[in-house]
Symmetry: C2
Subunit: 253 residues, 2 copies
Amino acid sequence: MQMDSDSQAINCLLPGERLDDLQRNELLIIQNPERFCFGMDAVLLSGFARVKPGESVLDLGTGTGIVPILLEAKTPGIHFTGLEIQEESADMARRSVLLNHQQDKIDIVTGDIREASKIFGTSSFPVVTSNPPYMIAEHGLQNPSYARAVARHEVLCTLDDVVREASRVLTPGGRFYMIHRPFRLAEIVLALSSHHLELKRLRMVYPYVDKEPTMVLIEAIKYARPRVTVDPPLIIWNSPNEYTDEMKNDYGY
Amino acid sequence: MQMDSDSQAINCLLPGERLDDLQRNELLIIQNPERFCFGMDAVLLSGFARVKPGESVLDLGTGTGIVPILLEAKTPGIHFTGLEIQEESADMARRSVLLNHQQDKIDIVTGDIREASKIFGTSSFPVVTSNPPYMIAEHGLQNPSYARAVARHEVLCTLDDVVREASRVLTPGGRFYMIHRPFRLAEIVLALSSHHLELKRLRMVYPYVDKEPTMVLIEAIKYARPRVTVDPPLIIWNSPNEYTDEMKNDYGY
């Protein structure tokens, strides 16, 4: 089975692409290291998001499809849609879905996050996820590769665009899951609030127990009352060579 | 010296009051356990707040004066003012200040947080601190003792009152330090933002490394640009009988 998938995969790889094993349910993903490879953030987001039986999920800015591929494997959700503006990434995502035999559960749509509510309609998903670009477009050096720049910097969409479209496509009471950088936290809360999403749960991701967090996981609910639950800290490493038990047990690192 | 202070103190204690040793610089504090005793939150706030040489500090809702008493001892600030609405608490605070020979550096003013900018004038302090009531007035059981209820529940002032008055009395670029409960985090960010205060630093206080945080320390700056620094986690206990090294070394627990 693994061999079979692998040989199919090798046939469907384009120049520069490689096939990575997700170390879970024999899932594979096609990536192109010249463009952008998924990071730990996407994996953490797929573990933080809660998807209930029968729920459908929209992932905004899905890249090569890592979040829907992992959520399909990890959760009882009924259907997963990934929206990606870069056709090359969307194409890799679609081929990974086929390789993983997930085509009945996952759709990859090429399109612009800023148009999500036009593409899918308002109030169309109970769950939305996003691992959006973290960096403000004008800040610092942009990535020399355009594909990476789009994934990492707010070139094609801003935080406000992502939050606005998440809110529009969510049903009332629907849940939005996002991973982002802690330095944007105040902007995140304000953007959520301005689009009728209430921050309900937050988890700080600390590389070590004595270091500043590098990521923050967010759950917001549409039209909810204010009350935040902050989860226990998620700590990545015990030492430079050893992941914490949670990372090993829950995320397969 | 200690004996001398203690004997003065015993002379100035009212019925029901007791004298506690702050375990730092021979500082003492008068408290009445029937009313309200300061908690770890005030101690953590006094460690989190940064006060530079020559700066004056206003503590909103100072209770028995724990925050100005500790800040005077810990920081190079030039002057400290505590504002407290309950006369009995303010009176205990004033007697503690005298006992500690801090009367040239600390003033305790009886008054209402909601009137702070009228009492002190706008743009009058570079630093404001507050350990305000955490609980929304209508939530849950209020404390049967009125004095405790005022200290713990938003009976006499709301979060918005505290933040609004902090902003008004702060100079442009001035810093506001507050300790609060994590479940109010979204409300805190929104209140800060609506009063021209930008959340700039945040530290989560976790009782244990694998538990939800019980407190959050906040630094906000008036008229600043958005960018949050989240500090390493502050963890209180290694085990039920052992404080972490940080608590022992930095806070004297």
